[in-house]
């Protein structure tokens, strides 16, 4: 059994069923995220941040932030799923724990307006052209009309 999955289960997190092999999706509350990620890194496994995928569920008023972490030694993907309210999407930063998460956080802030608290490198205009960014809109949200 995988050390990483065992550890997450020992924290009381439940794994969501997914069809694909080698994918483990865990829902985490925003205030526990840093504890969970720090714990994973302390397991001494080679883990890298594959991507941070954001999904805007406009009808539910929720923004979902998916941290996709690939565990090289155990050949599996841990997805930490954080759901935050759409009107104030705030999650703690993890880029000081996993430096490779920086690009994902910058992208998610610029395209979806997810604020990663503690990340002082967040800025508009990382991917979005400044004339659009200056209007204070986030182009990949569902209510942004093209």
């Amino acid at each position: 059994m995988s050390k990483a999955v065992e550890f997450l289960r020992s924290l009381g997190l439940t794994c969501k069923e997914v069809k694909q092999a080698r994918r483990y999706v865990f829902e985490v509350s925003p205030d526990k995220l840093r504890v969970v990620v720090t714990g994973l890194i302390k397991l001494n496994l080679n883990i890298y941040s594959s991507t941070i995928s954001v999904v805007d569920y406009i009808n539910e008023g929720v923004i979902e932030v998916n941290y996709c972490l690939w565990v090289i030694d155990e050949k599996l993907m841990i997805v930490l799923r954080v759901r935050v309210p759409r009107d104030s999407p705030k999650v703690p930063t993890i880029h000081d724990i996993i430096p490779g998460a920086l690009n994902g956080e910058l992208e998610a802030y610029d395209l979806f307006g997810v604020v990663f608290e503690g990340n002082d490198k967040l800025r508009r205009g990382f991917l979005v052209p400044l004339d659009i960014a200056n209007q204070g809109v986030f182009p990949l949200r569902k209510d942004f009309k093209v």
Partner: protein, 385 residues
Amino acid sequence: MSLIEIPVGPQHPALHEPILLRVRADGERVVGIQVVTGYNHRGVEKLGERSTWSKDVFLYSRICGICNTVHAQTYTQGVEAIGGIEVPPRAQYLRTLVMELERIHSHILICAVMAEVVGFDSLFMLMMRDREPVMMLKELVTGNRVIADYYVLGGVRRDLDEVKKDKILKVLEGVEARVKYYKKIFMEDYTITKRLLGVGVIKPSEAVAYSLVGPTLRGSGVKSDVRADDPYAAYGEIPFNVVTYSDGDSLSRMLVRLDETLESIEMIRYIIKHLPEGPIAPKTPIRTLHEGEAFSRVEAPRGELIYHIVSKGGDKPYRVKVRTPSFNNIINGVIAYRDARIADVPVILTSFDPCISCTERILVIDERNGSTKVLSLKDLSRWGK
């Protein structure tokens, strides 16, 4: 001594990720690099939400010219996972064949570009000449030289007959001999080793922490390859070695690519010998999907490519998140420039195989007298000699 800032980039019309590196230099030594992006965000993810499942195959394969079939693979295998669509074994083998052809020409291309960056122009031309037959093979199999559009949901568009098989084997024989020769040059030639050896070293622990992927990660000695660790298409059935080099410098990253090219040639031989019989696509096209989601990973020539696809049912995707390997390697790869010399910047950037051509022109600003001078990538490369 005052610091000099050298903007490397940002515009190039040919490739899809124009980017600017603001290089701060103390004399010849690089003390800091800031990556400036945002010149050409095309909103492909947003566009995909308005199109249908089957049309999006063609949209996402246009994200990248060089690695278009891997984008099509990542998208279709994600959709197939959500829909529980079975792909016939023959189609899986044919997909793998095309992806490996793409890897061969992509790796030869970046090695050729590296030769040009270090000033070895004759090697660049020879390698580009020898890349061309592989492009022709891609055309032979898919019908197109660059953008293949070979994929449909559940299969592929064209079959392979005996004549084409023989042609592929014959051409690859010539390509293999040339790649072996180029590997010898990269390992032994004075010009190349002088410019690449020990340049832009990334330690294995850093490569993992900074989430670098593909040949950049394997060049630092970390054995991680989606084809082996998380098999897709027919990779679970095809024997191959995951190539790693432990030095972590620019030369290691190039040698990983050259060795992988030779591995890919062997894989194609295996595929042609063991190509299963049967259909290549479903009889009825797939139009709608039920609810679900998939995290789809593929080893692109530049590293791990990942799509997160969310379906809420119907004929359109709800969300398709695309993360290309260059996004990790370029933004997080700034650690490799520490204490490099200015002339090493294009070498290190090229060793990441960036999907951009941002080093096309260089502007040197002397902060002491405010004078500016525009240099080409070639001029910049010559500084190191």
